[in-house]
Amino acid sequence: MIGSRRQILVRKMLVWIALILGACFAGLPVLWMVSSSFKSNLEIFAYPPALIDDSFSFDAYLAVLSDPGQLRFFFNSYLVAILVTICTVVTSILAGYAFSRYDFRFKRILNLLIIGVQSVPPITLMIPYFGLIVWLRIYNSYTALVLTYMVFTLSYAIIMMTGYFNTLPRDLDEAVMIDGGGSFVTLWRILVPISLPGIVAVGVYTFMLAWNEFLFALTLTRTNDMRTVPIGIHLLMGQHSFEWNQMLALSVLGSLPVLVLFLLFQRYFIAGMSAGSIKG
């Protein structure tokens, strides 16, 4: 009995050691980034390194926040990500409804097509997009970014939404139909309100993807007033003098929206992810 209690204690200690080692692997790099963003640019690579040193200040953050050019990156990122999220959520609700509640001739093949889109490499689409976007006269515009981002947010969003609708009993919508409600009324009044967790999951997922997108933002915009946060960081890196602390401050500020969304909605998000794509 004593032996087994000691065994449990030893096991518990091993679990804790592994837990803390894992947390160092995941968390220390992030901690170092945050602490470095409060250092002066000269102290970033000081020897020996210190987590917090005498140069601690908010200067880098003030520099980023007082620069209209860099604030513009944030405005652009928010605008594009929110537009993409709204468009993706609405489109995926409609498509998910069709896949979940109707049988139609090309259902199987369309479903395969939508799953398949996830595997199309963005770099493959890059070259024709460039020509297409210029031809449509939307080069260097928000429209170009919103439309192209949706190609990559939509397929996963539809899979997630279909999966969520599939978990809801069909009796619900059939009851409304018998009461004389049309198909769209059923979707809008019944399914959408009770699918809120699924919709939130789709929305958070889409916002994260759109906020993080790099390749299309790099190639489909030209002027600095159209650049998003990831490209803004890229531009700072390309400058002659490396303003490390400013780049890091911009990075921390640029990560906050996703971090906050994730912390707020992680329960929905994780549940939605597992309901949607990967069925165990």
């Binding site: 679990v15 592994a18 837990l19 894992g22 947390a23 995941a26 790099p29 992030v30 170092w32 980034m33 690579f45 020897y47 409609l94 498509a95 409804y97 069709a98 109707y102 259902k107 939508i114 799953i115 398949g116 996830q118 595997s119 199309v120 490499p121 963005p122 770099i123 493959t124 689409l125 890059m126 070259i127 024709p128 020509g131 297409l132 192209t148 949706m150 190609v151 939509l154 539809i158 994260m208 906020w211 993080n212 790099f214 190639t219 990831p230 960081i233 890196m237 490390w244 890091l248 990075s251 971090l259 912390l263 992680q266 549940a271 992810m273 597992s274 794509s277 990967i278 069925k279 165990g280």
Partner: protein, 310 residues
């Protein structure tokens, strides 16, 4: 009598119209999706395929010339292409294997019955942390840490693990492993989250039965946990493999494919061919090869998804 028939006819017409409406309705709901995918997926893929069959496209003043598969011969026999292909495969396979191993270990750890719910909740957030950062920020973060005068070199040197300061990202022998490591760090949380959900879906009865049969922890893991997670493992690994083959930003912003092409992957190679050298035909050809590889993997992915559906 006459009236009844007419009523019947009109009723039948109404029913037929309703049936037609019901048949067309799903297509109505799918219209926005289909329009977008047709315009921004199907048309571009056809375009890029056509580009790969001709010379002199887009910026060249000469008219395009049809060359058949010559571009493919040129690309496939090119040493730079082969280097990029082998780098991509190394980068992707090592990343997927490590993602799986780390993701599963962390998920099992967070699922341990020896920990309280609150402890689990806190560590779960820490473990998922790398996921919230976008690739360009991850690139900055690791360029800071892996800088020759950075903290990683300092720690490794202090503990005597390395004899001298390493130029992790600009040493030809180290760079590919360094970017692979960065990708491993940034990508495992996706597995962790999926495995956590999967582990919670395994009924306790299975473990009870296994314990009654005298199984130890390792046997339970091998004969219950792993088989139960198998569908998740397969679709995750395939999806991740495809995504890693796509990876552009991380490599573009850490090494840009250098030094001396030692971290050149297919996507950075394509980007340079298109937007630095303006060889759009060659770039399109490489892009088609990447698409072919991804489609090949995707077939297995779609199959695994369909198996899970049934």
């Amino acid at each position: 009598m006459f009236q009844a028939t007419q009523g019947e006819i009109s009723q039948r017409a109404v029913i037929r119209r309703q049936q037609l409406k019901r048949r067309l309705l799903p297509y109505g709901y799918l219209t926005p999706t289909l329009l977008l995918l047709a315009a921004l997926t199907v048309v571009p893929i056809v375009t890029v395929f056509l580009y790969s069959l001709v010379d002199n496209v887009i910026v060249n003043p000469n008219p395009p010339v049809f060359v058949g598969l010559e571009n493919y011969e040129e690309v496939l026999s090119n040493r730079k292409f082969r280097g990029a292909l082998s780098n991509t495969m190394y980068f992707s396979l090592v990343s997927v294997a490590a993602h799986f191993f780390i993701g599963l270990s962390f998920a099992l750890l967070l699922n341990s019955r020896l920990l309280s719910t609150n402890v689990k909740a806190v560590f779960r957030v820490i473990y998922i942390l790398p996921w919230v950062f976008t690739a360009s920020i991850i690139a900055i973060l690791w360029r800071l840490l892996l800088n020759p005068h950075g903290v990683v070199n300092f720690v490794l040197l202090e503990f005597g693990i390395i004899p001298e300061l390493n130029e992790w990202l600009s040493d030809r022998k180290l760079a590919l492993n360094a970017v692979t490591f960065i990708n491993i760090w940034s990508g495992y949380p996706f597995y962790l989250v999926s495995f956590l959900a999967g582990l919670q879906g395994i009924p306790d009865d299975l473990y009870e039965a296994g314990r009654v049969d005298g199984g130890n922890a390792w046997q339970l893991f091998l004969h219950i946990t792993l088989p139960q997670l198998k569908p998740i493992i397969i679709s995750l690994a395939l999806l991740d493999f495809i995504w890693t083959i796509h990876q552009f930003t991380l490599i573009w912003m850490t090494t840009g494919g250098g030094p001396l092409r030692s971290t050149e992957v297919l996507s950075t190679y394509t980007y340079k061919a298109a937007f630095s050298s303006h060889e759009y035909s060659i770039a399109s050809t490489i892009a088609m090869v990447i698409l072919a590889i991804c489609t090949f993997v995707a077939i297995f992915y779609v199959r695994s998804q369909r198996m899970a559906d049934e």
